[in-house]
Symmetry: C2
Subunit: 139 residues, 2 copies
DNA sequence: ATGAGTTTGCAACTTTGTTGCAAAATAAAA
DNA sequence: TTTTATTTTGCAACAAAGTTGCAAACTCAT
């Protein structure tokens, strides 16, 4: 797994540093999405707030993670599963936010439905965010 | 139109004040959505930043306006067209954000498509945000 | 017109995010 | 392995966004 992380960083022409390894590891070890605050909490005093901001930004630019729009307008991030490239993301899946536990899921197998737009509107991207009760909280 | 505004406020058991009238008027006079910053700019020194926050919050609670999730995670608001009630919104329409002019539209006639969820997930709300080029910018 | 109740503006504060720069760490070259 | 060039980090200072308490101003019912 650690090997894997180094490979991912190198493959994206990023020098391998402590903070990048740790943060990437956090994403691999969680099923849902992470907010900046989550990472800050989990890492304690390990690295600076600013470093987290910059690392997340770098990962998004490289296509390693993607941002997720949320109803409460907080910023969440999750690993890209698809073959996302630097500058071009292809995360065309539905996201789910649980009202009870707060977890945000990437539903990688549920693809975005086609939306019929009015005359004159051209779409380049469609985001779908479903909220409700997740599998865990339903049992 | 002014009459209308007073009626809306009274119908929602809100006392009629300058700031509430002006802010509601702004929403009626715009085709798209408004952010807190837009209102602050348009109103200049007319009323305090804090008043705008509180007014927007009140309007959302009363079902007069609704929030819109955005890709850049900024908070936008627009008038409720449907019969939204205090505590329960029914704005089941698609939202469109123009990459060029930045306008956010409520596509009130385009209804939210049904999304097939995995076993165990129960949905209570679905938000769809389409981005691209709007009618105005396409011509 | 009066008074109870609501709303507003101000000030002070917290939280979130950004920027410049020197020190430290990494990767490449010798 | 040692040296050097490049990148990344932490710190400090700052800017933007949002919250809270409270006294003064306003609204509305009597
Ligand atoms: Mn995702
Ligand atoms: Mn809308
Ligand atoms: Zn849950
Ligand atoms: Zn446009």
């Amino acid at each position: 797994m650690i090997e894997n992380i180094n490979e991912i960083l190198k493959k994206n022409q990023l020098s391998v540093t402590d903070s990048r390894r740790k943060i990437l590891e956090m994403f691999q070890h969680t099923s849902g999405a992470l907010a900046h605050a989550d990472i800050e909490k989990q890492s304690g005093t390990l690295f600076d707030r600013v470093t987290i901001y910059r690392t997340l930004q770098t990962f998004v630019e490289k296509g390693i993670i993607h941002t997720i729009p949320t109803i409460d307008n907080s910023v969440k991030y999750a690993l890209c599963k698809d073959a996302c490239q630097a500058g071009h993301h292809h995360d065309n899946h539905v996201h789910f936010m649980c009202d009870e536990c707060g977890t945000t899921y990437c539903l990688n197998n549920i693809s975005i439905p086609q939306v019929q737009l009015p005359e004159g509107f051209r779409s380049t991207q469609t985001d779908v965010v479903v909220s409700g009760i997740c599998k865990n909280c339903n049992d």
